[in-house]
Symmetry: C2
Subunit: 231 residues, 2 copies
DNA sequence: CCAAAAGTGTTGAAATTACACCCATGT
DNA sequence: ACATGGGTGTAATTTCAACACTTTTGG
């Protein structure tokens, strides 16, 4: 099943990956969690995860579960850190690699999510999760906040077309503080990675707000030059 | 040997950790690498690492090898990322967790280092390393640069007592660029986490430079308040 | 007395913050 | 006509970057 094992004298263990899946909906940051249907811990909430198989990388494993549950591919996902305490899992020695993902909540497949007993929870209503998953969520949120300072990853959480008020609300949700709309616009537009569209979103006001989209090419250029995207 | 294994149907693999060990000596950033004494790849250079045992955490494993080779405990060490490509190691499926460490090069145990066939290499003379260890070094350096921007980890590389010119040379080595000494001092001192000592270091000039030490308590206070240490 | 490194202030530019009103439109 | 959210500019403050000379002292 696998090639010769030259390290036979050493210990092997399970390697798992757990996904901290962020979404943004209705002005609120949400997390996709999973309600166990079977014992042990039936009904308990956990992150979505999987054991890593011998013939897949950790990233592949995470993408596999993510697609199973949301139907989405090519989601923004990044390694957070490993959770490797000896006693973290009472099944057997198992380390888990936390990965956080940002998904566009308008794109995921509702049926799949329901079928897998997964639920979007607003962050501030999040109940306790199994094992060390609470810590993972805490770490992921801290990472998201830090990361959003120097890379415009906020866009990963928004639909293809979004308005500046939406973007601002997202950043306010991430940082948990109000921002000044004039300064926010000035800053965001100064990066030069937003393309203003003709179309307006009239769903939240009479006047309507212009849609923008993210200019990925321009962004790559700037990253290459080492530009700082702090908001 | 271990409690009941409830996950028997899943794959197990080796988990290793590799340490990217930074030192600072003679105004130069250096890396501690290890020359293999036995086949395969006799004479090849690699990072210092170990398999993780069932009864130790990854951090414990890394501290274990680090102490074995340098004699040091309580070294600054932090997880970098995992290296988990399916084919990264030709021995067997094995993921490695990279950890980078900063050590005070005046404190390590020279005899131990020699005994283990380890060598301090200046960064810009570093030859190729085995497996994906080159990538690990590259990632670690990038992380060090980023991290040094918002946390004063530079101090971890210096002796207990250090002078401002030394500190500046270190930062210049990390960022590979000259800095203005007036601006550098102004900035560093403005953080308020340095304590000026009476004593002077006369080893590099007739006039002598005042020693400083790092105020850990004050630093913790500031971290708690969320202060930014960008240099 | 002089070479060599340590130490020190000021000024202009740039970035950041604070702040308040008009606009467009569906009802 | 009015309520609602969208959109805009300016002035004060703070931060950052550039810049050159004096001090100390061992040899």
């Amino acid at each position: 099943m696998w090639k010769e094992d030259k390290y036979g004298m050493h210990d092997k263990m399970y390697v798992a990956t757990d996904c901290i899946i962020f979404g943004f909906d209705d002005g609120i940051l949400k997390l996709l969690v999973f309600k166990r249907r079977i014992a042990p811990q039936e009904g308990a909430l956990s992150l979505i995860g999987s054991f890593v198989k011998l013939d897949e990388s950790v990233t592949e494993a995470a993408n596999r579960v993510l697609e199973e549950i949301t139907g989405l591919q090519n989601v923004f996902m990044e390694e957070l850190k490993t959770y490797n305490a000896v006693e973290r899992d009472d099944g057997y020695r198992c380390i888990s690699i936390g990965q956080y993902a940002l998904i566009r909540i308008d794109e995921y497949d509702k049926n799949l999510v329901e079928k897998h007993n997964a639920i979007w929870y607003p962050f501030d209503e999040l109940p306790a999760l199994v094992l060390d998953h609470d810590q993972m969520v805490k770490d992921a949120l801290a990472r998201l906040r830090r990361k959003a300072r120097y890379q415009p990853i906020g866009f990963e959480l928004l639909p293809e077309k979004f308005t500046l008020p939406q973007l601002q609300i997202l950043y306010e949700a991430i940082y948990q503080k109000k921002m000044d709309s004039r300064n926010f616009r000035k800053k965001v537009l100064s990066f030069g990675v937003l393309i203003k569209l003709e179309e307006k979103d009239k769903s939240t006001s009479k006047k309507g707000a212009f849609y923008y989209k993210f200019n990925h090419e321009k962004y790559q250029e700037l990253i290459a030059k080492g530009i700082n995207f702090e908001v």
